[in-house]
Symmetry: C2
């Protein structure tokens, strides 16, 4: 059994190749690229006429979350051998680092892989479609955003509940529990809740109005 930094220590990871990048070398580029995406979408969306600040902020979020789903979570789903590669790329290193907060990633736990696969294949493209839908003021914009939020929330419930039922002991230390398992995921609980609530309200108002004028 090769030595690895994950919990439980008994986890067998044959062929594990140790991390080469430091935490800063992993988190830094991700945060930097994310800030770049947020700034670029904010500036570009300012050139689309008639968009409210709320819409522009939403476009920033959907671009950020869509790219995270596709470019960060995508490689995890489609690289089952990421932790044994002798020449690991940045994304392999990301998931070796994140696994310190949840070793089910490196262990390829079924529920975790399933939630990630749904996130990458459905929520990733749908998030980017939401950027376009908001910019072009499509009538499906709210229900699409609501759909992606529900998917993200359902995924988080499955993610946290399966961790709880399977023993709640997958982090290398309390630091990684709070920073990665809780911290890194909290945005995908709080922000989808806020957006879903907003879309729900907007939809109810529109339906109420439509009922009044008997569009039926």
């Amino acid at each position: 059994m090769g030595a690895h930094p994950y919990t439980p220590a008994g986890l067998d990871l044959p062929g594990y190749v140790p991390l080469r990048l430091s935490q800063l070398e992993i988190v830094g580029p991700y945060l930097g690229a994310s800030l770049f995406v947020l700034a670029a979408v904010w500036l570009l969306s300012g050139r689309c006429g008639r968009l409210t600040k709320a819409d522009r902020l939403l476009m920033c979020w959907w671009a950020f979350t869509g790219l995270t789903h596709l470019l960060i979570e995508g490689p995890f789903v489609f690289t089952p051998d990421f932790f044994t590669k002798s020449n690991p790329n940045f994304f392999d290193e990301v998931w070796k680092e994140y696994s310190k907060g949840d070793s089910r990633y490196v262990a390829r736990d079924t529920a975790t892989v399933t939630v990630e696969a749904i996130t990458v294949l459905l929520e990733g493209p749908a998030s980017l479609l939401a950027v376009y839908a908001i910019a072009s003021r499509k009538s499906y914009s709210h229900i699409l955003q609501f759909t992606v939020c529900l998917g993200q929330l359902y995924g988080c419930i499955v993610y946290f509940t399966t961790a709880y039922l399977d023993g709640f002991n997958f982090w290398a230390s309390p630091f990684y529990f709070w920073a990665y398992f809780i911290g890194a995921n909290s945005s995908w609980v709080v922000i989808p809740l806020l957006i879903a609530r907003r879309s729900w309200k907007k939809i109810c108002v529109a339906i109420q109005h439509a009922e009044k004028v008997k569009t039926k």
Copy 2:
């Protein structure tokens, strides 16, 4: 290792108490009670004025699915020892029978229990709320129905994907695969898809209308 009728044969179920009821004694009462609920809601909803036939059919579905989630799936979630009880009740027997189509139920697989718990705690009450919302023509009726449908669909995707990733070998025979694993679950794929599509369209039409008259 006690003898049991489930696959894989190596599954260890200490204290397993064999089924006493026949398939007919289990499926018969469930189908009978379901038909009773469907008929009762159909007849009662006919007395509410102004409800379309589509609305009345939807009320029948939401009552049936809500009661199935709460009364059939509820006991599974909250009775971890259902297969060892010396005096099993009807619901214990239901899940011992269904496990012939998916032994992850009797094995209490984490992902399966998680999806069932979400279904019971969130989608069960929300389905019954949908019956009320349709009857009272609430403005949140469509978005609520859409929410429950997405939950059911996400649950089905997790359910089938985890089965696939874990080896796709949980049924006692092809009959149980088709009748239980596929057959019994197919309604919760097809009907939520149809209702979600309908609600999506209704919401888009209402939003389109609201945009036109600049309710913003």
